[in-house]
């Protein structure tokens, strides 16, 4: 495994005093954030609170107005849509941007890891939604990124597939140990996956909760239940709504 095992506090990314405004509207307003290697961080927040803006800034896709991001120039990103190139076979999709000679072997290894090692030459159009997202994960991890950015990657999947993907992602992150930032709307997903859950509001990280291993593995654990209620309250969901949602 990687050297990060021995230095658990090695930072994957450090963000300081980040600011981003669209005209009058300030979306990110002096935000600080640090994610270590091997650490899984979930970022929650209401729609339009700036979660995705932050992720895109970390990915180098959008500019920022001021502040500093100390992280890898080329973090890996998995989007909500798989974004596989339909004209390339699976292995070519995974090896995109790698040089041809080493690319195929690396792609094969990465696809095997996500359980698609027997479909190197297949076309993306023959994949189900979950399989396509697994290829997207393989493509993200093939370069052993220091920082992995996940932009609601499981939102479009059905409930059962999502649970399987959660297990796979946990396993992959444990193996490769990147720092992970998961942007999600799903409180249960955050509790199941993250070591730390953040709530973004008014352009900053407003709340921050550690998530225990017990809460990760058992959604009925008292800690998980309590954290769920706390997070939902932070996100502006009232207790009445919570109870109805749970009953449904």
């Amino acid at each position: 495994m990687s050297a990060a095992d021995h230095i658990p506090d090695a930072p994957a990314v450090v963000v300081s005093r980040l600011r981003r405004a669209y005209g009058e509207r300030v979306v990110i307003d002096g935000l600080d954030l640090r994610i270590n290697r091997g650490e899984f961080v979930a970022l929650l927040g209401e729609s339009g609170c700036g979660k995705t803006t932050l992720l895109r800034a970390l990915a180098g896709l959008d500019a920022v107005d001021s502040g500093h991001i100390d992280g890898p120039a080329q973090p890996a990103v998995v989007f909500q849509e798989h974004r596989l190139l339909p004209w390339y076979s699976l292995w070519r999709n995974v090896a995109l941007g790698l040089d041809d000679a080493a690319g195929r072997a690396a792609a094969q290894a990465a696809l095997s890891e996500v359980g698609l090692g027997d479909r190197l030459e297949d076309w993306p159009r023959n994949l189900s939604g979950g399989q396509a997202q697994r290829v997207a994960l393989a493509r993200a991890l093939v370069r052993e990124p220091r920082l992995l950015l996940l932009d609601e990657p499981f939102a479009a999947l059905d409930a059962l597939t999502r649970i399987r993907m959660h297990e796979l992602v946990k396993q992959l992150v444990a193996t490769h140990r990147p720092g992970v930032l998961l942007v999600t709307h799903d409180v249960d997903e955050a509790i199941a996956l993250a070591h730390r859950a953040l709530v973004m509001r008014d352009g900053v990280i407003a709340r921050e909760y550690p998530v225990s291993r017990a809460a990760n593995t058992n959604r009925a654990h008292p800690e998980a239940v309590a954290l769920r209620d706390t997070l939902l309250a932070d996100l502006g969901v009232t207790p009445g709504e919570t109870r109805t949602a749970r009953a449904a």
């Binding site: 080329q74 990103v77 989007f79 974004r83 190139l85 339909p86 004209w87 995109l96």
Partner: protein
């Protein structure tokens, strides 16, 4: 022909439902191909019978067998092959020139809004000129030389390739381009791995259309002013009322048209095997 050029934007067909599902009558692929060939043969058969019985005067339409005989005679003379070669060479040269210019301009305009501002309106204006309208001008400029014919073919080919190249490049999903950036591709990498493959279905649709145009343009050019080629063969035959030769020329034009379309289709099948609409039997 001008109306053909005006409708030169050929869009890629929308993804159709899988044909292997929920079809009431299942005919094998081979049976369907067989059926598609029956109709033309029946037409030729009826034509032959009508011509032989005298119901169709030889001065109106000679029998297919007579046309075939004429073809064999002309091939023996060596005349037919030579004229056909000249016609094909003209079409190919014009296609290469017009296609290259159309692709180059299309790429430029597709990538650059500035180039679009400079070029697109002018190109669209030229495109609006009916093809046949400039024919007298072409004859004045080039006389009956090869230049005029190649010019006409090039002009006809240029526009569909241009339009479909621009369209193809513009239609590439910006999310995929973004992904290319995330994967660490540089500008050329994005063009090579994402934009050109993404534009290819549209470009090939343009190529297929342009092939048909090139042939049409050639017919017009060879009919007006020429001293060789298939068109000349037909015009020359008209002087001597050789209707069989005229019909032969028409059939050759049709045949080459069908053939070039088949070549374009084969190209699409090969280059777009990843595309659900062009997918062959494989996978």
């Amino acid at each position: 022909m001008s109306s053909n050029i005006a409708s030169a934007v050929v869009t890629v067909r929308a993804p159709a439902a899988r044909p292997d599902r929920a079809r009431p009558v299942r005919l094998s692929r081979r049976a369907l191909i067989l059926i598609s060939w029956i109709v033309p043969f029946v037409v030729f058969g009826v034509w032959e019978v009508l011509a032989r019985s005298g119901a169709l005067s030889a001065h109106v339409l000679p029998a297919p067998s007579k046309v075939l005989g004429t073809a064999i005679n002309l091939i023996r003379d060596g005349k037919l092959v030579g004229d056909m070669g000249i016609s094909l060479l003209r079409a190919a040269t014009g296609f290469a020139i017009g296609g290259s210019i159309g692709f180059a301009l299309g790429t430029l305009v597709g990538f650059s809004r500035l180039a679009e501002a400079f070029l697109d309106r002018t190109i669209q204006m030229i495109r609006a000129i009916p093809f046949l309208a400039i024919l007298p001008l072409v004859i004045v400029w080039f006389g009956v030389d090869e230049g005029g014919k190649i010019f006409l073919v090039s002009l006809g080919v240029m526009f569909p390739i241009y339009i479909n190249t621009v369209l193809g490049i513009r239609q590439v999903d910006p999310k995929l381009v973004e992904l290319g950036r995330v994967a660490g591709l540089g500008d050329w990498g994005v063009v090579r791995h994402i934009i050109l493959p993404g534009a290819l279905p549209s470009i090939l649709a343009g190529v297929r259309y342009a092939l048909a145009i090139s042939w049409l343009a050639l017919v017009v050019a060879e009919t007006i002013a020429t001293s060789s080629g298939i068109g000349f063969l037909a015009m020359d035959a008209r002087e001597f009322l050789r209707i069989d030769v005229i019909v032969l020329a028409i059939i050759i034009y049709a045949g080459v048209g069908v053939l070039s379309d088949a070549v374009a289709r084969a190209l699409e099948r090969r280059l777009l095997s990843w595309h659900p609409n062009y997918a062959g039997a494989k996978r």
